[in-house]
Amino acid sequence: MSAWQHTLGVDHYFIVSTVLFVIGLWGMMINRRQIIFMMLCMELSMLAVILNFAAFAHFKSDLFGHVAGLFILTVAAAEAAIGLALIVALFRLSDGNIRVEDMNTLKDSDKREEHKTS
């Protein structure tokens, strides 16, 4: 037990946060349906970054990283508020389904013509 405590260093935190960050990004890439899931993945990645800052700050005995974490948390809240507002606006305009694959009214002009003729 005590040996384990001694070996838990900044590297381990870095690996965990990197894995969380990649899971979040990967989730945004592969998920083609729900916008809400995409926002959750975004939050996950952001929290991974905050973990990174907090861990680095702890191991360097430096306060700046904690402050940076607080700032990023605030920005994440503002971003989530705007994202949810956009989702509500999109929900009102659509037929009750907000899927990522339905967001296709904006297209290159040549593709739009193909769409019409088919």
Binding site: V10, F14, S17, F21, G24, L25, M28, I35, M38, M42, S45, M46, A48, V49, N52, F53, F56, A57, K60, D62, F64, G65, A68, F71, I72, V75, A78, E79, I82, G83, A85, L86, I87, A89, L90, R92, L93, S94, M103, T105, L106, D108, S109, D110
Partner: protein, 483 residues
């Protein structure tokens, strides 16, 4: 802890912020809000900030707020660029006679806050401050794009912008967290002292973090392959928001990119050459080829912006010489030309509706001969034909690259210029040779728009008289004199 001088140095930012808050409060309490009054207040706040900037013009020795900001002359010029650019766009976008519900109060507040974010971005000397400025600007832009919330296209564009912008800011954040882990600080000077020699793993981490941060900025300035949001967002947003995104926001992205390469990432530049090369080559190729088939004018502007970005970035490969200065000059000329283009496009309407297709420009030469001539001048300048300003912009960039031996890239750029000339010339052809299908363009053009079109066209034409002096002024501003 903080001196009075700190607050004086940030007086322009404080004026813009309090102007935005005042407008917000006024919007809550004043029941009978006329669009003109909120518009007047926003422009006054920007001009007041510009006046404060001129009166508090200081030398670079002061680094306000314990060096969280820089105050060199380059930052001052960039801040006034943001202020004046935003003010001009606010003036151009003001059409009180159009009977469209346009959320004017919210529009003005968000424009002011976005301008504030950009001013923080260009004068930041710390990655966290840069991040906060970037987010302030980006969050305002997401809302601005989707501001007409009853139109599906606007909201969809806003949503796409939000998602892709969110990914970009995540990459940036992760990059700076690695910088913090390696150096223990986020200030530009401390990060600049990092080198990739310090251990195998640290070197790799530093390089990955640098790439992540630069990718996020490449997103802001729509350089391929980070350009995918641009065509959709440009097409979905209204013309006045587009005028802001495609001019001020883009130039600010380039300025920050250049400052990061110049100061904190200077030691990395040798490793970044491939990245910059790919960014430039891909942007001009994608922008020039994909633009050829567009019929929507906003989409065409998006692709035109991507290819112009590629031409500008050629010079970053020549970082050993005068590359960055050439990029900055290129972007300044691009900025002024595009202001003229948007002053025209914002004022043209057919049956009270703003034009959206290239074919809507048909008949411009007969109904508004002077404007057709001005637009033709802007297009020639964007192609890079002598003797217009765009020619010199390309000349500086190409010379800087050739001087450092990147001849192949310049040859490819010249080829792509010819391809891109296809769509610029098509606009001229539509204006002068096609007959309009439905009615003439609306007659009256606002006096402000006329003035801006005239001035920018004059600049584009008369640049040939003093290209050397312009270049010298930019060189004297460059921040590399600092370190």
């Amino acid at each position: 802890m903080f001196q009075q001088a700190d607050y004086i140095a940030l007086l322009p930012e404080i004026i813009v912020a309090s102007g935005a808050l005042f407008l917000l409060l006024k919007g809550v309490f004043a029941r009978t809000e006329t669009p003109t009054s909120s518009h007047m207040h926003a422009v006054l706040a920007l001009l007041g900030a510009q006046a404060a900037l001129i009166f508090t013009w200081q030398d670079a020795s002061v680094a306000p707020f314990q060096a969280l900001f820089v105050n060199d002359s380059f930052a001052q010029v960039c801040r006034s660029l943001v202020l004046v650019g935003t003010a001009i766009i606010l003036v151009l976008a003001h059409h009180p006679e159009r009977r469209v519900k346009s959320y004017d109060m919210e529009f003005n507040v968000l424009m002011l806050l976005a301008a504030l974010g950009m001013m923080i971005m260009v004068s930041a000397a710390n990655f966290l401050v840069l991040y906060l400025g970037m987010e302030l600007q980006a969050l305002c832009l997401y809302v601005l794009v989707a501001i007409r919330r009853a139109r599906l296209r606007c909201v969809e564009a806003g949503m796409k912008f939000f998602m892709l912008g969110g990914i970009a800011s995540l990459l940036f954040l992760y990059g700076i967290s690695v910088f913090y882990g390696l150096s223990g600080s986020l200030s530009y000077d401390v990060v600049a002292a990092l080198t990739s020699d310090g251990g195998q793993h640290a070197g790799v981490a530093l390089r990955v973090a640098t790439l992540l941060v630069l990718s996020a900025l490449a997103f802001k300035m729509t350089a391929a392959p980070f350009h995918v949001w641009a065509p959709d967002v440009y097409q979905g947003s209204s013309m006045r928001v587009l005028a802001f995104i495609a001019t001020v926001s883009k130039v600010v992205g380039v300025i920050v990119f250049l400052r990061l390469l110049e100061i904190p990432l200077r030691s990395q530049l040798a490793h970044l050459e491939t990245f910059l090369f790919a960014l430039a080559a891909l942007s001009m190729t994608v922008g020039s080829l994909a633009g050829l088939r567009q019929t929507d004018i906003k989409r065409l502007l998006a692709y035109s912006g991507i290819s112009q970005m590629g031409f500008a970035l050629i010079a970053t490969v020549a970082w050993r010489g005068y590359g960055f200065e050439a990029v900055f000059v290129y972007m300044l000329i691009y900025f002024i030309t595009m202001l003229g283009v948007f002053a025209l496009l914002l004022s043209l309407a057919r049956k009270q509706r703003q034009i959206s297709l290239i074919s809507d420009l048909a008949g411009l030469s007969t109904s508004h001969g002077g404007y057709a001539l001005a637009l033709a001048i802007f297009m020639f300048s964007l192609i890079g034909l002598p003797p217009f300003a765009g020619f010199f912009a390309k000349l500086y960039v190409f010379f800087a690259a050739i001087e450092q031996g990147h001849v192949l890239l310049v040859v490819w750029a010249a080829l792509m210029t010819v391809v891109a000339a296809g769509y610029y010339l098509r606009i001229i052809k539509v204006m002068y040779m096609d007959t309009p299908q439905e009615g003439a363009l609306d007659g009256r053009i606002h006096i402000d728009n006329r003035l801006i079109v005239f001035l920018t066209a004059l600049f584009t034409v008369l640049f040939v008289l003093a290209p050397r002096r312009f270049w010298d002024v930019v060189l004297s501003l460059w921040p590399s004199a600092l370190n």
